[in-house]
């Protein structure tokens, strides 16, 4: 473990150690203010220096040509990548002070697989199989960077967290336990109650979601619902509660109702993103989800946002990643074509301005 930590530290130092200025010129770049055609992304010291039209740059900046499109690196709003073995303790229903960040294995093959699919940031989460399984973290898929050690207080409020052999055994019991914790909050509960730590409430079914929304409203909690397939059918309630939604990926054969639910949130302007529950899911599941939703009527801009900026906001790391705005980390993907087309693939993936996939690694 010490060796891994040391490696993580070294890797984390790498971007600054190899600081440089370069640029990539592409047919289209999806910037913070929309698509810019015939554009160049200028990177300096691992950060986005500028996004310019044409090649309007100082002549000493080397430019890489890319006949394709560029987006910010994709962000998965929930995942078990590299932490699966330590993501669950079934013996105690409340472990609010447990930090999934401690289980982060920067060398996990899950991270490499995610990176190869253009995913550069993941929210690492404990499994929602107990009432309060712990605190999530946000990590990059290359370089070992932990963007946030404490991202959300994870709460399991659906059937997955119920057991017959330990309390709470029912939805009412779950809410009673949580209400008690929030009545005189300490530790992570206090942070959540004060608005410093968003909550991530697993609520798979509609009735779970209704309970979760009422609970969040009662305690003035901000954050997101997790895996709420039919959140779109409760769009008004979700909006009133001010929560975001993290959908499970839409896979082959997903119900039309689930697809319509995503489209409905998009139309209403409710922030949402997708989870990539690695290693259970294939990394392509993230873009497959948006492809399904696009076909179902979701707008392109909203779909791309759900994969990048919106997911970064839900993760609370929008000041670091999720967009190609000036000053943000230079985490981006060179796509062979339209990033929302499953027929396109990542040609290269950069994290902190370093090419981590494709060409010279």
């Amino acid at each position: 473990m010490i060796v891994i930590r040391a490696l993580v530290l070294l890797a984390a130092l790498a971007p600054t150690a190899f600081a440089q200025s370069f640029a990539v010129h592409a047919t289209k770049i999806h910037g913070p203010d929309g698509v810019v055609e015939d554009a160049t992304l200028w990177v300096e010291d691992g950060k986005v220096r500028a996004l310019v039209r044409g090649k309007d740059l100082p002549s000493d900046v080397p430019i890489r040509e890319h006949a394709g499109e560029i987006t910010a690196g994709l962000v998965a709003a929930h995942s078990y990548a590299g932490v699966l073995a330590e993501s669950h303790d079934d013996t105690r229903s409340v472990l609010a002070e447990s930090r999934i960040a401690h289980a982060f294995d920067a060398d996990s093959s899950d991270l490499r697989r995610a990176l190869a699919a253009g995913v550069t940031t993941l929210v690492l989460s404990p499994r929602p199989e107990t009432l309060v399984p712990g605190v999530t973290a946000v990590a990059k898929t290359a370089g070992g960077t932990l963007l946030r050690r404490e991202a959300h207080l994870a709460i399991g409020l659906d059937a997955r967290a119920q057991r017959i052999n330990r309390a709470p055994t029912s939805p009412a019991g779950m809410l009673a336990e949580l209400d008690a914790r929030f009545a005189r909050p300490t530790g992570a509960f206090a942070s959540a109650a004060a608005g410093r730590l968003p909550v991530m409430i697993a609520a798979a079914e509609r009735d779970d979601a209704e309970r979760a929304l009422a609970f969040a409203t009662k305690h003035h909690l901000g954050g997101a619902l997790l895996h709420t397939e039919l959140a779109g059918e409760l769009v008004g309630d979700v909006q009133r509660a001010g929560l975001s939604v993290i959908f499970a990926p839409l896979g082959v054969g997903a119900e039309k109702r689930a697809i319509d639910s995503v489209v409905a949130l998009g139309k209403a302007g409710v922030p949402f993103a997708f989870s990539l529950d690695l290693p259970f899911d294939a990394p392509d599941a993230l873009r497959f989800s948006t492809a399904m939703a696009l076909r179902g009527g979701l707008e392109r801009a909203v779909a791309l946002d759900a994969l990048t900026a919106q997911a970064a906001r839900i993760a609370g790391v929008q000041d670091r990643v999720g967009s190609l705005a000036k000053g943000l980390d230079a985490d981006f993907v060179l796509w062979s074509g339209d990033p929302l087309d499953l027929g396109s693939r990542p040609i290269a993936v950069y994290v902190d301005g370093i090419e981590r996939l494709g060409g010279a690694r």
Binding site: V252, G253, D277, G343
Partner: protein
């Protein structure tokens, strides 16, 4: 789901066909309704900016005339006959065929372990499965699917190609009742993987099935020849006896009298020609396997690991007429050259497999289709047997394969003419040619590209999807 007005105009005549008793009777008979014409009188003229006649052949600014369910004319200067419905489209292409689906097959039949080679999948197929689901498939451009009972079993029975049209009677919905026979090799059940000996036993079982079919076929051929020889010998003997009838009669009476006199039992004279050759015992499984062994029916064998694939390649070599389609083929790259040489099409299902996948698919990669195509292996694509509604996502599944290296035109071919040819329905569907059934799509852009929307779908000549829906 349909607005009432559309239902009336588009399906008015179709419903008549559906309830017509003679059409039902036709469906129940064993005869294949080859290129059944739907004499519904509906006429549609589709003008296309770009017509993809078949993979690799494109015509600009032309029109397709559809009448009675079929394509009756294609040409630049076609005009719409009076009363014809007119559709203007950007890109027109053949409807997609999902080569690996469970759509409409009874859920229990999918898990049935008693399925044998002779099991007819259409017997477990419900042509009236939820219309909303059928519309989802059609809106995604999927006009036909190949179905097989017990898709994950060792034997999947006789597979069929059926349409997804929600308002068809069976005679028109079933494109081909016996499109293939399906076998599975080394497929784990649930989480339990098979050890190498079990897997090789599966290979032997699959090859044994072909061998049984071949022997049965040979027995039938032998019997036919023996019967012919016997009939000839009988005829000759009868002629000979006829010629000597008087003498024979006299001899018989004499023998009979002698027998009576001596108190013995009289025995009729026997001839060696009296012994009629025995027909081989009828066996419906072997009937099907016989057709598979001589190449009449394609054999879909699902196998994944290199071990099974190599053993199959080696064992199948002597059956040079067998038309083998390899389904799955997770490790097929290991023997891509042999598959290419033998022209074995590989039916891939580029599903989204996470880490917890069936053991035999442990090494499956989305790049499989692209790498095999590069080696010259013909590619077919199916949504897989995971979910009945998966057929709706066939286009997206194909796009996954494209993203992982399969050329777009190869993917398009796999979804249209490639599938039609592999399963012997290319005389009906798979391309847009005069005389073929009108199963086609009108798109607002190139097929298999994100953002392209299906505007109209024709199935058996009926307009079953419109942009308003």
């Amino acid at each position: 789901m349909y607005p009432q007005a559309i239902r009336r105009t588009v399906f008015g005549t179709v419903l008549c066909v559906a309830v017509c008793p003679t059409a039902r009777a036709g469906a129940e008979s064993d005869a294949q309704p080859k290129a059944a014409v739907r004499a519904n009188g509906a006429v549609t003229l589709i003008r296309a900016e770009k017509l993809i006649v078949r993979p690799g052949k494109v015509e600009e600014r032309t029109a397709v005339l559809v009448q009675d369910g079929r394509i009756v004319a294609i040409g630049e200067h076609l005009t719409a006959p009076e009363g014809a419905r007119e559709i203007d489209g950007k890109v027109v292409c053949a409807g997609f065929i999902d080569a690996w689906s469970t759509f409409g097959v009874d859920a229990a039949a999918l898990r049935d372990e008693r399925v044998s080679a002779g099991t007819q999948t259409v017997d477990a197929w419900d042509p009236f499965v939820d219309e909303r689901w059928r519309l989802e498939l059609l809106r995604a451009g999927v006009t036909a699917v190949r179905i097989n009972a017990a898709p994950n079993g060792k034997v999947g029975g006789v597979g069929a190609i059926v349409r997804t049209h929600p308002q068809l009677d069976e005679a028109h919905a079933i494109l081909l009742r016996d499109a293939c026979v399906a076998l599975g090799v080394g497929i784990s059940r649930g989480t339990r993987g098979l050890d190498p000996f079990d897997r090789l036993a599966d290979v032997d079982r699959a090859l044994g099935a072909l061998s049984d079919g071949e022997s049965y076929l040979q027995d039938k051929i032998d019997y036919k020849h023996e019967l012919e020889a016997w009939e000839k010998a009988i005829a000759e003997k009868e002629k000979e006896l006829d010629e000597n009838a008087k003498k024979a009669k006299k001899d018989r009476e004499k023998d009979k009298a002698e027998a009576e006199k001596s108190g013995k039992e009289f025995k009729e004279k026997s001839y060696k020609e009296d012994k009629r050759p025995k027909a081989p015992k009828y066996d419906d499984d072997k009937e099907v396997l016989a057709r598979a062994s001589n190449g009449e029916l394609p054999v879909v064998i699902e196998a994944h690991r290199a071990l099974e694939l190599r053993s199959l390649l080696e064992g199948i070599e002597k059956y040079d007429r067998v038309r083998w389609i390899l389904a799955g083929g997770s490790e097929a790259v290991a023997c891509a050259d042999e598959l290419a040489e033998r022209k074995v099409p590989v039916l891939v299902s580029p599903a989204l497999l996470g880490q917890f996948r069936p053991e035999e698919q442990r090494l499956a990669e989305p790049s499989l289709a692209g790498r095999l195509a590069e080696a010259g292996v013909p590619i077919l694509i199916g949504s897989g047997a995971g979910d009945a509604l998966g057929a709706r996502d066939l286009g997206l599944v194909a796009q996954l394969a494209i993203g992982a290296g399969l050329p777009r035109e190869k993917a398009f071919e796999a979804l249209t003419l490639g599938a039609a040819r592999a399963f012997d329905v290319a005389d009906r569907v798979g391309s847009i040619e005069v005389g073929k059934d009108a199963d086609l799509l009108v798109l607002d852009g190139e097929p298999l590209v994100a953002g392209t929307r299906v505007q109209f779908v024709l199935s058996a000549g009926d307009v079953v999807v419109t942009p308003e829906q």
